[in-house]
Point group: C3
Amino acid sequence: MDWPKGVEGLSYGGDYNPEQWPEEVWDDDVMLMREAGVNLVSVGVFSWARLEPREGEYDFGWLDTVLDKLHAGGIAVNLATPTASPPPWFTLAHPEALNTRPDGVRQVHGSRDTYDICAPAYREASRAIAAKLAERYAEHPALAMWHVHNEYGSSTFSEHAERAFRVWLQEKYSTLDALNAAWWGSFWSQHYGEWEQILAPRATQYLSNPAHELDFKRFTSDAMLEHFKEQREILRAANPDIPITTNFVFGQWVPVDPWKWASEVDLVAFDSYPSAPDERAEQQVALHADLCRSWAGGGDWLLMEQAAGTLHSKDGRIAKSPGRMARHSMIHISRGSKGAMFFQWRAGRGGAEQWHSALLPHAGKNTRVFREVTEFGNTLPGIAHTVAEPVETDVAILWSPESWWATGGGAHLPGPVDYLENVAQIHRVLRDRGVVADFAAPEGDLSKYKTVIAPTTYVLSRAGAENLRWFTAGGGRLVASYLTGAVDEHCQVWLDGYLGGMTDLFGIRVTEHLPQPAGEPRALWNFGAAERFCELVELRGAQCVTQYATGDVIENQPAVTVNPFGEGEAWYVSCKLVDDAWDRLFEELKLSGPGRPGLDVVDRGPWRFIINHTEREAQVGNVIVPAGSWAVDGKR
Amino acid sequence: MDWPKGVEGLSYGGDYNPEQWPEEVWDDDVMLMREAGVNLVSVGVFSWARLEPREGEYDFGWLDTVLDKLHAGGIAVNLATPTASPPPWFTLAHPEALNTRPDGVRQVHGSRDTYDICAPAYREASRAIAAKLAERYAEHPALAMWHVHNEYGSSTFSEHAERAFRVWLQEKYSTLDALNAAWWGSFWSQHYGEWEQILAPRATQYLSNPAHELDFKRFTSDAMLEHFKEQREILRAANPDIPITTNFVFGQWVPVDPWKWASEVDLVAFDSYPSAPDERAEQQVALHADLCRSWAGGGDWLLMEQAAGTLHSKDGRIAKSPGRMARHSMIHISRGSKGAMFFQWRAGRGGAEQWHSALLPHAGKNTRVFREVTEFGNTLPGIAHTVAEPVETDVAILWSPESWWATGGGAHLPGPVDYLENVAQIHRVLRDRGVVADFAAPEGDLSKYKTVIAPTTYVLSRAGAENLRWFTAGGGRLVASYLTGAVDEHCQVWLDGYLGGMTDLFGIRVTEHLPQPAGEPRALWNFGAAERFCELVELRGAQCVTQYATGDVIENQPAVTVNPFGEGEAWYVSCKLVDDAWDRLFEELKLSGPGRPGLDVVDRGPWRFIINHTEREAQVGNVIVPAGSWAVDGKR
Amino acid sequence: MDWPKGVEGLSYGGDYNPEQWPEEVWDDDVMLMREAGVNLVSVGVFSWARLEPREGEYDFGWLDTVLDKLHAGGIAVNLATPTASPPPWFTLAHPEALNTRPDGVRQVHGSRDTYDICAPAYREASRAIAAKLAERYAEHPALAMWHVHNEYGSSTFSEHAERAFRVWLQEKYSTLDALNAAWWGSFWSQHYGEWEQILAPRATQYLSNPAHELDFKRFTSDAMLEHFKEQREILRAANPDIPITTNFVFGQWVPVDPWKWASEVDLVAFDSYPSAPDERAEQQVALHADLCRSWAGGGDWLLMEQAAGTLHSKDGRIAKSPGRMARHSMIHISRGSKGAMFFQWRAGRGGAEQWHSALLPHAGKNTRVFREVTEFGNTLPGIAHTVAEPVETDVAILWSPESWWATGGGAHLPGPVDYLENVAQIHRVLRDRGVVADFAAPEGDLSKYKTVIAPTTYVLSRAGAENLRWFTAGGGRLVASYLTGAVDEHCQVWLDGYLGGMTDLFGIRVTEHLPQPAGEPRALWNFGAAERFCELVELRGAQCVTQYATGDVIENQPAVTVNPFGEGEAWYVSCKLVDDAWDRLFEELKLSGPGRPGLDVVDRGPWRFIINHTEREAQVGNVIVPAGSWAVDGKR
């Protein structure tokens, strides 16, 4: 499917909320958008209260005008269904359809996302407003794409959710015996005697059951997907030529499995908000881009939101220095995004996000930010022809949302585990070595990769284990790190050596987890160091690549091993290595590419994208890229 | 109005809770009070359960006795209405009249302040007990003042509050259209279609609306004031000669606007509890005193509570070293307080505050603390004649409670802002330069000042902006720091350059906020440094006083500017300066006085108050003040 | 009573949960238990849902099989009542019988301990399941002991609790006047006019009443004890020869008074989970052991749970290095435990505690942990004869659970107090000096001790004060540290000098508490230093042992004093001393024994237990103990 329908070249623009401004501003908006090179805007994302001021009473006049003005100005529209923020009347009319916290508190309007994704009344209201929009705008010439909802992610622990959860569980397990077995119900007297006894993981006295928690996350992902699909079918029916998407938000708290969702959207869209002030921001942005490309699986994807002027970090926000917005955008575009979109076009005067950075700042067009936005926007048409070629790589990193969820906050784990950091570390070290990597689902198609890296893939299903075995047997090189395959899809421990049961594949058994105190690194012979987590490994045929040089119990025990298996080989890293040690290992594995630290280099067909994040001019081949700038070269 | 009626000279004493002690202690109390120089005590602050043991059943016998004994001993009484702590029977009789948290939990008795300020039943019970006290004691010869309630400050998010909030909003905005516009309701679908849809800012899913939050704070301030006025009218009617007050507590969480309240009380009373172990405690005390004097606007004010023996800090409490209690008291008295009162007279044996310091410690009269209390109390009559003269100054600092509230905890701001610290910093640097400053409301009368300093006055209303413009045009010197005038009275951003819209006044536009990472100060040319927050300034006629020497985007851009305007001039400081830089600027502005670091010097008519907080003897003119001591000199 | 009935020598084993595993594993379990030297297992601790899958519907078949297999294998059974985890059906059948948080939220099943200890329905269900077990297994030959419930400790703030609390209070105080006086009800208007007005200490607005809190803790301890006794009577009636116990858990949050409970169990059982990674873990384990022995008062006691392979600390868990499990076990055994038990036998595959360490790890028998378990288990029979002799000492440290509770988290205290650390500090310094100490209740029998140390015994009742006075008068040496006797049994301050009113005993008055800033130690003359807390002491006959060398107010004031009293003497330490200063004081008091830092030495009759925690070989007398090892010597 052609997407955003009618947009030529790269998409450039952002969320546009004209309903927040008087009509006299709208013409100015269109004029400035054209000046900035904007060709696509997301309209109506939170407009429900303006579109349906009273239940069943609609007002589309303003939106008609807006779409007509945009179309006249040559700006395409990514039109949103507004279901991410029900209006105040919804709370009063359907109090039982509000989001419910684990402690039973219903969250009222006054923010956004105050709905219960499982409540029939909310579902019905969502379908109704989507149908009205479809009816009125499906054929509007400005319409380029549908943007369903916004950043799916709000869990609810209501009775509606519990009722739907039970249905979902019955479909999955058929019998209570199967569920009790899967959830290890005999521990702490959690055997269920009736389906009605199963609740959401609500406020309880002490530690909760990890299998229960994980299934509830999966269920919530599916419930949200159902909500999405209900709207999608309505929109599709109205005009099958308009692509339909929703924007993914990234966080451990988000119960959305992108691998399952990606095939349901016409293009994968993503909101990229890095959370570090320094070069880790660029690392995160590159990670986001590679994840999106991989979720899209060769299909289209788009950076749907980023902030033009600021970065958020633990310390609060900081400004993006000159050129950084363009470089972040180019990280996405070079790695496959079909454009660079932002939240938002015009900075809001009021509301909770009045200080969210925008393309057009509060101080107007005579500002540094708008000048950069305009300069970059007018550069994009010049490179539109270079992005037709695919991004190709033979290295994949496993991305397991379930491992991320299962190692989250409240979990009782064998030691300190930061799943995202472990994935990001692999990605970062590879990027610094110039390697562009894909991500892959543990159960996904690995046939096109030579090397697959599984960082702390804690949850490894039977199917995932089989997949890795098949990949290796067929000639692949598998590199797994500690705690990979610790538990199966039911969060049950893989007995007799962990490793997803694949002790033969790796030629070892892991016999004990040995978390280490903070601040006490453990040296490896000729191989850098480990920190916080080691495992005791028993060799069962594998070769020992290096051993621990220090440490109670582990001294002189295997730290990194390799085992030939079928046509391939399986490496195992039994600890949390520091960056240098991974770099050392990747040197051994001969993984390297044209980039280097501070320099993104991505080759696509005849085109080479170079992004220089450093404060010095950089040369790659014959191309010289000024400090803080980027280039696309056709003569690699 | 004469206040505390019948108390000659300076008031000295504290909260007195005889109902906690057997009657035989009462005579001892009066004797020791006389020994300590006590002439005023606050009685009955939390006595409701003893005055009305069952609903409608009263027992005043014990209070009759106490008042008679005090009167016989020459001690005047500041008689409290006990409404800050309803008795246990109230919870059971009126469960719907309890304070409700944002998550809907009603807070039961077992502490203090367990009531819903908006509940009709609580209002009625408050009026009833106030009327009983008025009826019985309005003519009692011991009665010197009424003390209504205690430390107003407990918010409630109940349906009572929501009902009253809606009425308040209707009075303020008249129409929903006006409210929706003021609250920027189109963001996140928050347009209200009916008044009934407006709730308190209860538990919601994500960020709340800042205009909603700010109006709810204002409403709560007004609701509490209404409660105060209801009691005041009853007490006034019973004897119009008795002054009426209530004691203010200081904290960002306190929804009380002192500028609005000050005109409703006969004298401003204040509870001063500094929260630092070191010299910042003295800075805070001086800040408290200058705030109180300014709120009182030339009228009377009184330090109503402080702790005799201890200071609280983040680290827990520490003891006040010898002389420190007297010096803190003298900071207040020298800056205008009509005395020094304490919580509490006799240290309690039990209850939640059993370890709160008191004038008479647990160990009795043979203690260091009581000896200091007695010594200081007997000194006060000797200086009573010196306090008739006013404290005068031509420098004012703006104090904006709304800016404090709006930059509080949960708010989504353009960068790190600590409003109180920014105000305190100006006050501190001026104090160290010997300058006594007033505080002024942004919309208040500025006509008597030559210099007005507006530190980060984030919320600046249209009226406030007009006031500053008028002040400057008329010859005043205005000094504003970063984020001043960022938003208006509806928390809406001032567009096209911030600054409360007064880009012409300052001769600049602020085009971008540039929060900076912690630990990375930005040098100014010849002017110290900034930290955490800078702004990008575009000159539009102003002169540049100094520029940033370092920093992305800001290097060589204006940091401090000055612009002549009418008869006056407007300075702008576009960043968070460090103390030294403010000192440098005040040197430029020729702001200095007779005090110096560690030494408070306040001149009032012919009298000079000198307080030496240092560990060395200090000389000011001909007067030598021993280390840790103070003096009042008549020959300045 | 003989205990664990039929177990010869030392008990060795752990919680055994066969219901989590298929039956084919059970034979393997018994075989491996025998291999490891296991002779006792705790069965059924959380098995309610398997024993009573539906209300009133029982299934004992699996348990019959398990007990028979164990008996056949020579393994005795400590059979648990499963009441610590009601099944899911209980939540739905008796929603009002769920644990209620202070904010009113009822905690549903999904974890453990989801019941309201005061709910009649829960009590009834508990008695019923206990009766069924008693009926079926009281005469089973495998049955060695009953294990009632598990780790009593979950508070509830329900209406059931409030109703029972009122009855408890009526029994204690008889009249509301007495209660109001005891609770200092006149503060903050907390006088109760009817019993019905008394609530649990539920969510309230601000600080709560410490006497209310303390009585609620005592009540909860008694309510839980009642629940225990109800089951005990049922089990006892079925077979009076089987000993009955429950396992204590250790924590400030646990409302269980071990001094009151110890006499109600046939042996004291304890779960010992140290919380530090370094040598403080051994200190904690020794503290646990000495507490247990003391609670048992010469009776039997048993280490019921510990973790075989891991330690928990703030930083997460770390592995126990080789030998450490055995040394921890030996700390307990040498100090009196009749064995070493663990949670749990076989590491669980699923559930909240799937990563809890076990005797038999996930990786099976070919693991370091199981090898150590087996080696140690097979050593125990060889020392069984050595433990018949009692542990004897003439030094006792007071252990006051009420002081721990009363100085907990939310309390408003005169300064920073960490009760447990202060007790642990005394125990640690004595242990490092080779002294094995008992613990004693403040009101307990002190007649067998020469020295009694009272570290910060904040709550000191009238009876406790009398007890200490009697002890000293009779020739004892009492050493008390700061804040001892600050308040009485009603949390009311001891007036006129604190010290539990015993100013004559100590020959001093404490006139002021002087908390000190963190990081500013106060030197004592020739005696180390104090930190965080000092007191101002007035000599009234005592000798000054040393004075403060620095510090506001305290400089040159008494820091440590001693006063002859009757036949004995009373020492007072008016501050928080650092370890070295306590060591110096104990040197003065001639308290020393055969152990030294890193080396536990415990003499029992002719036997000497030596545990070497250091990394070097150690010699004690003629005995040489290898690094990290232990020995029992008969030729002391």
